[in-house]
């Protein structure tokens, strides 16, 4: 019966950890916001490339496309905002501070994989507990 109890406890712990992983993933994901990395440049310098009027937001070179990122250090954000709450982040400052922002995409994938993995483990342990319990019950009359 000891083995049955241990398996039951482990299954409960795994289910609990899955719940913690789910909540942590949701909490981290809620901090993500649309961000455009940008190397700021004076408007006169950016004008050398032309097309300044076509581009909204601060002047400079856009690095990649907008991403949903989790950035806690407020000092890297530029004051300008874009459509749909887009924030601009100084890419050079980010590099200077050695920050590599976590992506919502990464959090979501890792969270889903962790939750599914822990739930699968919990289910396996719970099935193991049931098997162990039945085995113990079958063995009990023979032992008496």
């Amino acid at each position: 019966m000891e083995r049955t109890r241990v398996l039951g406890i482990l299954a409960a712990v795994c289910a609990g950890l899955a719940a913690v992983a789910l909540v942590t993933g949701l909490w981290l994901g809620s901090q993500a916001q649309p961000v455009q990395l940008l190397r700021p440049a004076p408007a006169a310098q950016a004008d050398l490339f032309g097309g300044g009027a076509d581009v909204e937001g601060p002047s400079g070179t856009r690095i990649g496309s907008p991403q949903s990122l989790i950035i806690r250090n407020q000092s890297v954000f530029l004051p300008e905002t874009g459509a749909d709450g887009l924030r601009y982040v100084d890419e050079l400052k980010l590099t200077e501070l050695g920050l590599y922002p976590l992506q919502f995409k990464t959090v979501r994938l890792l969270s889903i994989l962790t939750v599914l993995g822990l739930l699968a483990l919990a289910a396996a342990l719970w099935l193991g507990r049931r098997w162990s319990h039945k085995t113990a019950l079958r063995a009990a009359p023979a032992g008496r």
Binding site: L48, G50, I63, T106
Partner: protein, 195 residues
């Protein structure tokens, strides 16, 4: 008499229309190449400032050519381990072939500062034809260009192209499995000037 007047005018026009050769400046704060890739786990942008080469541009005829190089070994992605992978044989093999080269074969003016450009892109030792759009703007030397330590007139060029990793010998299983996108949008932005 009229012919005598037309001749100098034609000579002057041809002199103005002469193509000028510009060299890519070493302005690390301005020159940048980015390549964006999507993977299952995150999207990342590879960056370098190490762009070189020359651009020949005829402002009057609105045509030109370019022979550009990018130091692939200097590309950074924000993750040191991934930078190492990029240089390995599994990916771009920049350890063996560090130079990315773009050479134009035809340049057609579209409108304003916009041009349609055909050329060849060499990466990982493989050369493939590519088509791209480019914005080319010539600014005569002024206080801004002097402030940026640009030696002469500033020829600002920005171009974007889409390539497939598989076209350049990158056959990593992660691409076949769809975990890494085969498509690679490349953006190049730099200032060239008369040396």
């Amino acid at each position: 008499m009229r012919h005598l007047l037309i001749l100098p005018a034609l000579l002057l026009a041809s002199a103005v229309a002469a193509p000028v050769k510009y060299a890519v400046t070493d302005l690390d704060s301005v020159n940048v190449m980015t390549a964006e890739n999507e993977t299952d786990i995150e999207n990342f942008t590879a960056i370098t400032n190490k762009i070189g080469g020359t651009v020949t541009f005829d402002a009057a005829a609105k045509t030109g050519s370019a022979d550009l190089t990018v130091d692939g070994a200097s590309i950074k992605t924000g993750v040191t381990a991934r930078d190492g992978h990029m240089k390995s044989k599994d990916w771009f093999n920049f350890e063996a072939n560090p130079t990315i080269r773009f050479k134009t074969t035809a340049v057609t003016w579209v409108s304003g500062d916009n041009y349609k450009v055909s050329g060849t892109l060499t990466m990982n030792g493989i050369t493939k034809p590519v088509s791209t759009t480019a914005r080319v703007k010539l600014t005569p030397a002024n206080d801004v260009t002097k402030g940026m330590k640009i030696p002469g007139d500033a020829l600002a060029v920005s171009l974007k192209m889409n390539v497939l990793l598989s076209d350049y010998g990158v056959q990593h299983p992660a691409i076949k499995a769809g975990r890494v996108q085969n498509n690679l949008p490349i953006n190049l932005k730099f200032i060239a000037s008369q040396p």
